[in-house]
């Protein structure tokens, strides 16, 4: 039982859980259940980030996705839908075609990945969070600021659109 085995165990648990959660998002008949499955998915992906030594991203993932985005989804569902109906998350008429396309994409992706080899030997620095901060406020300051403006605009826009005039 070395560190690798723990990583492997954690990975497989998380991977299977994530696929199941993602499938649940798509397949569950009640939209609220889908949203809750999505919460589970987000939480697991945060775990995956921890496995990938990206603790900061993991925390951000939980804060933003679990704490904000999903809550927004839940709010939207509760404000709009007959959310208690058993078939509030139906498929549309093209679901077979959609399935074919999705499977085609998956096949293409897997085939491509199967042919590809990657260099190895990457290391995440010990002080990753500090470095991340320095990157964000250093070379990536411009996208950082643009993202700030984008968020502001999105906030104002969301308020303007959603407000009852």
């Amino acid at each position: 039982m070395n560190a690798d085995s723990y990583v492997a165990i954690a990975f497989w648990i998380l991977a299977i859980g994530m696929v199941l959660a993602a499938y649940a998002v798509v397949a569950l008949p009640r939209i609220i259940h889908s949203a809750l499955a999505l919460v589970l998915f987000f939480f697991q992906i945060a775990g995956l980030y921890v496995l990938l030594r990206a603790e900061f991203i993991a925390a951000v993932q939980v804060i933003i996705y679990v704490g904000a985005v999903t809550v927004l989804f839940l709010f939207a569902i509760m404000l709009t839908n007959r959310s208690y109906a058993p078939d509030s998350n139906p498929a549309n008429r093209q679901w077979i075609a959609a399935g074919v396309v999705s499977l085609g994409l998956l096949g293409t992706l897997l085939a491509t990945l199967g042919r590809q080899t990657w260099p190895t030997g990457g290391q995440v620095p010990a002080n990753a969070t500090v470095l991340l901060g320095q990157l964000m406020l250093g070379p990536f300051i411009l996208p950082f600021e643009i993202a700030a403006i984008l968020l502001l605009v999105a906030m104002v826009g969301a308020i303007v659109i959603a407000r009852e005039s």
Partner: protein, 368 residues
Amino acid sequence: MDALNAVSNFISNVLPILRDLLAGLLNNFLPGWLTEIVMSIVSISVFLAFATIVVMSLTLVERRVIAFMQNRLGPNRVGPQGVLQPVADVIKLFAKEDIIPANADPWVYRLATTVMVIPALLIYAVIPWSQNMVIANLSIGILYFVAISSVSVVGLLMAGWGSNNKFALLGAMRAAAQVISYEIPLVFSIIGVAMLAGSLSTVDIVNAQRVLWFIVLQPVAFFVFFTAATAELNRTPFDLMEAESEIVAGYHVEYSGVRFALFFLAEYLNGFAVAALATTMFFGGWLSPVETIGNWFGWNLPPLLPPYAWFFLKTYLLFFILYWLRGTLPRVRIDQLMGLAWKVLLPLALANLALTSIGLYLYRVITT
């Protein structure tokens, strides 16, 4: 002298020493991975027991303190001075019937309690009881706290929606709105501390306060943090989404028995965690004030109490402020609630952040 040091060391690190002892013992006749599993189970059990005791003590103290403030006696019949009252309460709650409303969504209804309690417990992973007594010294410590505490919103909404009850749903949505709104000033107030400490790790933050507690440097941040945290905890005076007179009892109106007890547990665990984090970030954590003040004058004073004892003392004192607020302040209106978050706390936190940045910059310019 060595013996005294040894005793002192043992007292200071009693839990890690005991854990290592047990692990060493188990390793003699179990494979390594099994030892780790057993040790994990043991640690979790100890922690859960501890958490339960803490919450029980908190409820009792709260009732007595509030009663004192309101010129009544409070529970004093079960056991000496009513110390066994919480035990009686727990037994009562566990004995009650677990009712699931007919139109409720059973899964969501059941899971809601779990989703509430587990994050409340997970928060304790980063609380540094002492230098060595921290479950996980994460590099993103306080961010972890923010992240985990935000999960409870989902639990609120699940409980409210899952009950299929108008009051529950309304209460849940109010609570969610409130929690999300207050999370923003909360995070901003934390950033000031993180900047001073130069780290997000809770242990590092405490160690950064060896000379001066951050309450001196960041009083505004503490005010914002504590106010916002009070609101996040849905405690008086911000408890209008679960106030009996307002909306029956909010999102957990339909819950009874052991599930209600779990909600209760989660709330008090969250409250204690907030007090513990406030201690960590603003009041020097496990550091002994006696030692700290002695250091200012160059005296080598003894810490008087073991580190975790200092920590608990400070945390309980901070929690006392919550009682105090509950006993003193009237409940705010919903518009005052939102106005406070967006118009007072957020600007305050931002101004504090700006001032801190400038001050830090000037400090660096001066010292280098």
